[in-house]
Symmetry: none
Subunit: 213 residues, 4 copies
């Protein structure tokens, strides 16, 4: 019994250390995500990241081999975050939900992640177009998978007759997600519209149109 204690204490210490180490790593990533999203990748300096993460600039290299490696990880987490959140939210819907409802929840969750929950997702959406082709390529597979998930929802809706049979689904996706992602540029959390309302309005406009009845 007594004997057992020491090793346990030892492994507990190790665990604590590992946790602390991972906490530092996360602080760096968090800081980077916020700054990348705000100022862009190039405009963000490692010293800014370090300051925000409350460590010395040099220490970053204990965790990451280069600024670009931080970028990659931020971008990856960014897509994974939305993907997982959206897939989970949609997956949790009662099976009898309408496809329109599924889409609404998807939009809502995507917007919520983008605008509120994940600095990583905002960063990804905000800087993707301006990082190097190579960095883009490293993120592309995940993006494709996420896009495929949306296409699946749209197709199911069309098959079920909830979307007009003549609609070009790829275009619909670009149309809807364009508006949704662009909201990042004007959404002000301090102002009126709740994200839920916004998502609902977007879906209503998309499904029913704004023309007269």
């Amino acid at each position: 019994m007594l004997k057992d204690k020491a090793p346990t204490s030892g492994s507990r210490q190790k665990t604590l250390r590992v946790r602390k180490s991972e906490a530092t790593r996360k602080r760096i990533l968090d800081a980077a995500a916020i700054l990348f999203g705000d100022q862009g990748y190039t405009a963000t300096t490692l010293r800014q990241i370090a300051k925000r993460a409350r460590i010395d600039a040099g220490s970053i290299y204990y965790y990451f081999a280069s600024k670009e490696e931080i970028l990659d990880e931020v971008m990856e987490i960014g897509i994974r975050s939305v993907s997982e959140a959206v897939e989970q939210a949609v997956g949790e819907l009662p099976p009898e939900s309408s496809h329109r409802r599924r889409l609404e929840v998807a939009v809502e969750t995507h917007m919520y992640t983008l605008l509120r929950y994940s600095a990583y997702t905002s960063a990804n959406i905000a800087i993707f177009a301006q990082v190097s082709r190579k960095a883009q390529d490293r993120n592309r597979l995940l993006r494709k998978r996420y896009a495929a998930f949306w296409n699946d929802i749209f197709e199911a809706a069309q098959d079920a007759g909830e979307i007009s049979a003549t609609a070009d689904l790829s275009l619909v996706r670009l149309f809807l997600l364009g508006s949704v992602n662009w909201s990042m540029q004007w959404y002000d959390p301090k102002k009126k519209n709740s994200i839920d309302e916004l998502a609902h309005s977007f879906c209503t406009m998309l499904f029913d149109g704004i023309g007269p009845k």
Copy 2:
């Protein structure tokens, strides 16, 4: 009159010089617009701009006081370009045109300017979110004016009964222009969709919705 008819040799030289000077200035701005749009503001160096404009990096300061001044001018031209193009295109429509038609032309022209015609407009849309608050503010008035123009179109359409009376026009604008501006991120001039078709599809989805009839 006199001036035009028989300019002294001296003033002709001056005119030529002024013209040359302005041509150089334009070359600098053109270069900056393209590079800012491609790589972002921070990632673009004055030496890159100078190289593209075929002058010496130091010479830029003969025309501009700072990199930021170039940014301001690029951004301003960016908004002015779309504004003018769109307002002109809409203004040239026959008075009896439907409001929906007016909107379609507005979208078409905006997209055309953004995706094809003006590197300034692409740069503006691409980098606005990531330049300093101050630089954004310096561009804000023009943006507001342009937004007001769109609102006018929407209001007229609503007044004429072409848009449902219950639609929140501000939101409609954000929804539509979001998709439109976002197209910059995925539009590939080498691929199928013509800009005209794209604009038309977007308007159709917006007005008629994608739901079943």
Copy 3:
């Protein structure tokens, strides 16, 4: 006549500027040669070079693309300096000079260049073994040419019977130039031996041996 003056003055100015520019470039190289020779390539910082050249560290990059480019040029000048000095000195000897005399002059000039005249040559000899293989390779052709020059002298001497027919000339060269280059490690300009005497002693030992007569 009068007309001619202005352009002349212009080109004179240009010439002056070019000269000043080249003077700065040379100051950088001179500083680098001395420091590389004293401390080694890695241990020498660009800031040290800049300080010695009386410019700002950043300015070095107006003249050189990298520290390694400075290294290359220092190394190249180092070999060229000895090569040219030695070849010229030997070439200026009266044609009837003995081959032993030619060798003595070659040794003398090589040592003089190495120990007194050229910081570039000392640097080259001092750091060659410790720079990257690539940097070595970039210097190798010039070294081979210089070695070939020495071989020619030795062969001529052997053909003329001034060197024993059985001597392995490559080994003789390595033996002699080894001693000569190594002198860099112990030669103290403040102490007794003049370089001329040193060179003479070395040649005498090599030709006549130190064994009893």
Copy 4:
């Protein structure tokens, strides 16, 4: 005695620990010697040394107070190694051996240690000129002693009439050891010349000269 016969389990552990500790220490020094010799002192990082010694970079400080302390020890071992090897080899010669033979053996052993056996000696010879004056000074006494040993051999040879009475022995030493040490720069273990032959050739050239008989 007692200790050796029946060491307590505690002391045996201590002995093992001490041995392990010294083994680690040696691994660090070995690694440092090789790397210093290959790349120079400044170009070698503690992390490279640690990697080669298969320990963590921070752990080096358990054994050495600083990088410079490692340098000192490497340099000291470097000179001690040749000194001891050469003195022993010469000491083991039959008393009736000629002085020329003694010198030949000394040269042979010095070269063998430098070129084959001891990374410490190569490091010492390779980097001495480029470490700080202080580090040089800390090595100087040992070097002087080693030089004195050579001088003794030369003097004995001269006294015995095997070296011309007029030869300047200090210069002879510098001449010979210069060639010998310089061999480090060109000797290629993969190529023809055995070290023994090389040493013999050098001595023959030195004693008999290369001039015609």
